[in-house]
């Protein structure tokens, strides 16, 4: 391969192995690396690496998943020990555990809120920025910025902005008559504030996926509808939304998984408070597993909620593949 790609700039001609002026060492180090690699490796090397990678993936994904299934039948209290076998005891206790069910409820509320919010805002933004222009590009970049802010920083900034005494949000909302609320300290408002912050972070991604899909819709379809006398409503209901359905499904499923697995906002924004009002199931799992060290019980929690997420993950991947097939 290397003789195809090595070009002798001094003679302005391609080098091949017979007429090469520098047989042993080539001038550029990466040529040497290529030469060595092409001598040393064959397809077998990549196949071997694929097996190593598969083993690693299995040992940090499949093995833990299986271990969690098994551990949920034991009452482990120390890391590395199974403890004694208790059968379905953990699950029975879990069914009566009000704190756990409350945390699942909190997580579901959060996930549904974030999905609905980011989908609605993302859809509206995609529709508004559909026509390509320099301004639309700039706005797009602006809306994508929240994704780039690390979750912890976003949570910190919003904790400051939502402060009841000197937060900017309070200052902005006071003229509207919504001043004086302790957004993160009021048990009735805290989850709503969390959802708002989550939506702020996720809406850019929803917009990007929907916008990409929306811009692929051929103009002719809409022109035909307009000629037949269809208004904006008809165009959206009968042409755009059906065509956008895979993209919408992708947005809903991926952000549903994201927000069901999220941990940072619960920990950093509210710490699960006030009085457990915003303790999502991931935070509950963390506290059960690593603070009170009830590992078997924690595993049962993970299996119960994780089992709910598996079909969503499977669906999201099937949509992802379909989206890919359409794009390619």
């Amino acid at each position: 391969m290397e003789h195809l790609y090595r070009f002798d700039y001094t003679r302005n001609a391609w080098l091949d192995s017979e007429h090469s002026t520098c047989r042993g060492l080539s001038a550029r180090p990466w040529d040497l690396i290529d030469r060595c690699m092409s001598r040393l490796t064959g397809m077998w090397a990549f196949v071997a690496m694929a097996f190593v990678a598969a083993t690693l993936a299995a040992s940090f994904k499949l093995l833990p998943a299986t271990a969690a299934l098994i551990a949920s039948a034991y009452d482990a209290h120390t890391v590395g020990r199974w403890g004694s076998f208790v059968g379905v005891q953990n699950y029975l206790e879990l069914l009566r555990d009000e704190q756990f069910w409350h945390s699942v409820e909190v997580s579901l509320c959060y996930a549904c809120g974030v999905v609905a919010g980011s989908l609605a805002i993302g859809m509206w933004l995609a529709a508004a920025l559909r026509r390509k222009s320099a301004l639309a590009d700039i706005l797009c970049v602006g809306f994508m910025l929240p994704i780039l802010m690390p979750g912890v920083v976003a949570a910190t900034v919003w904790r400051w902005l939502l402060d009841p005494y000197f937060g900017e949000v309070d200052r902005l909302l006071r003229p509207v008559g919504l001043g004086g609320y302790a957004w993160l300290q009021d048990p009735h408002l805290a989850l709503g504030a969390l959802i708002a912050v989550g939506t702020w972070k996720e809406m850019g991604l929803a917009m990007a996926i929907l916008l990409a899909s929306l811009r692929r819709v051929p103009v002719e379809l809409e022109e035909a509808a307009t000629l037949d006398g269809g208004g904006a409503l008809v165009r959206w209901l009968h042409i755009l939304l059906p065509l956008l359905r895979p993209a919408v499904a992708l947005v809903v499923l991926t952000s549903l998984i994201q927000s069901m697995e999220t941990f940072t906002p619960y920990l950093v924004l509210t710490g699960g408070g006030p009085a457990g009002a915003t303790q999502g199931w991931t935070l509950d799992l963390y506290r059960t597993g690593f603070e009170t060290l009830r590992l078997g019980y924690g595993s049962a929690m993970a299996v119960l909620v994780g089992g709910l997420l598996v079909p969503i993950l499977a669906l999201s991947w099937s949509y992802m593949r379909r989206q890919w097939a359409a794009a390619a």
Partner: protein
């Protein structure tokens, strides 16, 4: 131009143009103008909501301790307090955390992108015994929700004796099933003709990977690297779990810890936040520059 002429026509024919009374048409025009205005107002408001926290974070990081409580959005008369950054740097042990974060995130990004490329190449192009098994391992790994693996993965790291070491931060993320599948799917969409001609010209497997696959899949590889870096940089849960010593704190972990310790000094937290946000923006800008269209359309 057309519009002006149309209004002249309306003047001549006061009753109806296009079979509609003038008043109704005017009402419709007014409505349209109003809807355009609301749309732009809403766009600007949303843009402000998206970018505002960024701007406020930067301004807040330059405030005095009192200024940030009195008027967070406006710089105080004392001017920009650049020493906040120096203070945050010293007080939060920022240099150390930055080093750990950069090292861990870079290692994860490079390792995961390389492993994804090689694995996807082997799985997509080679026929070998056990290919279905390896594919199955990756595909079923995709279906495992992250929280399900938290407790046992910690036990595995514990069993390997890696708790509170640099390797515990990196090892679970060396191989990413998601990245691998993204590259794998992308390779499926690349025509094989180029590879065939390279093989005819005497290329080996390395030549194929280095000179055909990597250049052709470059857009996807860049996206995968960017996503991996963003994930690795902002990951909080895993580093919080596997490291205890303060010398191994990543930036997110450090910021979380210091929330409790320097709660009232928001200007320092904001300075830390600004410094933590710069690398992902830089990396995303560098990696995604030139990919004009958004990821999923390529």
């Amino acid at each position: 131009m057309n519009h002006a002429r149309a209004s002249n026509v309306r003047h001549v024919a006061p009753f109806a143009v296009n079979g509609r009374p003038r008043l109704m048409r005017q009402a419709r025009d007014t409505l349209r103008v109003l809807s355009v205005i609301t749309r732009w107002a809403l766009l600007v408001a949303l843009f402000g909501a998206a970018v505002g926290p960024y701007a406020l974070m930067v301004v807040g990081s330059l405030q005095t301790g009192i200024g940030i409580q009195v008027h967070p959005g406006i710089l105080s008369d004392a001017g920009a307090q650049w020493q906040n950054y120096r203070e945050a740097w010293g007080q939060l042990q920022f240099g150390r955390m930055l080093l750990v974060s950069v090292l861990a995130a870079t290692t994860i990004t490079i390792a995961q992108t390389c492993s994804a490329t090689v694995t996807a190449f082997a799985l997509a192009r080679a026929r070998f015994a056990g290919r279905r098994l390896a594919m199955g391992a990756f595909l079923s790994s995709l279906l495992v929700p992250a929280p399900l693996t938290w407790l046992p993965a910690f036990a595995i790291i514990h069993a390997l004796g890696l708790v509170d070491t640099y390797w515990s931060l990196v090892l679970p993320f060396v191989v990413g099933p998601t990245s691998t599948l993204l590259v794998f799917t992308y390779l499926g969409s690349i025509p094989r003709d180029l590879e065939d001609s390279a093989i005819v010209d005497g290329s080996g497997a390395w030549g194929l990977l280095r000179f055909v696959i990597v250049p052709l899949a470059a857009p996807m590889l860049r996206i995968v690297a960017c996503l991996t870096f963003l994930f690795a940089w902002s990951e909080l849960f895993w580093p919080l779990l596997v490291t205890q010593s303060s010398t191994l704190r990543t930036l997110p972990v450090g910021l979380t810890y210091f929330q409790g310790e320097i709660d009232t000094q928001w200007q320092l937290l904001m300075a830390g936040g600004v410094l933590t946000t710069i690398p992902p923006i830089l990396v995303a800008g560098l990696l995604l520059r030139g990919l004009a269209r958004p990821p999923l359309t390529r």
